[in-house]
Amino acid sequence: MLLSDLLAQALNGLSYGVLLFLLSVGLTLIFGMLDVVNLAHGSFYMLGAYAGLATIAVTGNFWLALLAAPLAVGLVGALMERTVLRPLYRRPPLDQVLLTFGFIYVFEDVVKWIWGGSIRSIPPPDIFARSVNLFGGAFPSYRLFVIVFGLVVAVLLWLLIERTRLGAVIRAGVYDAEMTSGMGINIHRVFTGVFAFGAALGGLSGVIAGPIQSAQPPMGATILVPALIVVVVGGLGSLKGSLVGSLLIGQAEVWGKVWLPGVSMAMIYLVMAAVVLLRPQGLFGRPLK
């Protein structure tokens, strides 16, 4: 294999990893705050892709879709948290996980109902529709955009959480929700906000993925598994873990195809098994009780 091919593969892995980061960071944020593993997170990704498709169908503008879809999905998330998740906070956390599981079916079938089951794809925005010449080969410029976009989002998120007052409230809530509420913070509003924000990030990743991976109703359930593997590898509730886990799994996916053709899909599970064996709490997770 030529060096240029290797670099192109690594970049492919990086763009997939960045996509996984956009998705898993919402998952890990919601868990950190609400102690809920939102199994419907893949559904938010799917809803995002379809909301993006709908926006583009009306306006023809990809950038507008990138703005509208996360807002719409964030609203769905806020509604879901307010109406069905909140009454369950007093119950064992598993009840909430089961509830989000039920939503996988509901969201998938509703999307199938509205848009049908066929495969669609979001066209990339015009300025990123071509390939660029990279290392002597053609590389889709949209993927380069995804990499830069994802890394910018990562930096903005870090600034938001570590450098703003809102971020301080969120960190306090993650550390001890009851105490934070005792300090006069309306923790329920923070819960809704974080869930909606996490859902919006899921929706955002769905639009971003649209031009690379085609949109179809089962996409939400399909992407859920790699996203869960990322948080298992990186450590649940850790933003840093979500970033490192995503980049690692992105590379594993790509190199699996190179080294283990035929059983390439098994690669990411091998990485997961190795991490669980050596560090059950994940690379950056808090030690398990």
């Binding site: 593993v37 199994l39 956390p93 599981f101 039920g102 996988i104 649940l236 035929g262 599970y269 064996l277």
Partner: protein, 308 residues
Amino acid sequence: MSWRAIAFALAVLAALVFPAVAGTYSVKLLQEILIWGVFAMSLDVLMGYAGMVSFGHSAFFGVGGYVAALALTQWGAGTVTGLVVPAAAAAVAAVVIGYFSIRVSGVYFIMLTLAFSQMFYAVTFQVAWLGAEDGIVGVPRPVILGVDLATPGAFHVYVIGVAAAATLLLAGIVRSPFGHVLRGIHDNEGRMQSIGYAVHRYKLLAFVIAGTVAGVAGALYTQFAGSITPEAFLWRTSGEALLMVIIGGTGTLGGALLGAAAFILLQSFVSSYTERWMLLLGATFILFVLFAPGGIVGALRGRIGLRA
């Protein structure tokens, strides 16, 4: 004889004579209920008794189903290839997955079991000699104790026999001292550890027992359908078993069976009227979790004061 034993004997008897009064389609539905019932009960032992909520129970259903398909087509169709080898294979798979998964608990356990089951999906979907995405078709039914199960009547008795045996086995296990230890772990793992129980060993054993029985259910399913596809491993398969347990009522084996019956009947009824089966399924799931976390059995207990 307790009312439980009488009810069980009556149920077996009713299932045996069912083909005399019902059509082919209904008989097939009953067999499907029994097969899924065994699968759901095995999950309930894990969930309801040991408190280990697995989202990847399809791994063992699939391993049982695939190994039965391979063994029956390659090594001849008998008891060993139809039931023993698949069960053993599922047990081995459960030891391996269990070894990794019981190191963690709660949501981590959920995510790990889910991921492992999807690994089987990924592998069977790609590997050519397992038929890749088409799976294995044309699996013959075995000849057991000299009886050829290709005959519909014989197969019906066989399914009832295996389901009844699995039910008695699981009921015996949850009522045994071992079962009580599992319930103790469910209630307070730390305390059981302090008292001196090797909690990990108990959890692994529970995981392997549940996996083995799920493997038997998978083997039965292959013989019922005559084929097996990677879909058997898909999260949906685990999800359906989970739904059956929740509808019926966690921590009651009878509830799991009842849940399987409700699920299969509802599915066959609803899909003839509407295409929105998944929506209904999800909504049912959500409503049960919200308003009836004890399932049908829990609701009945509250109403008529049925004892545990």
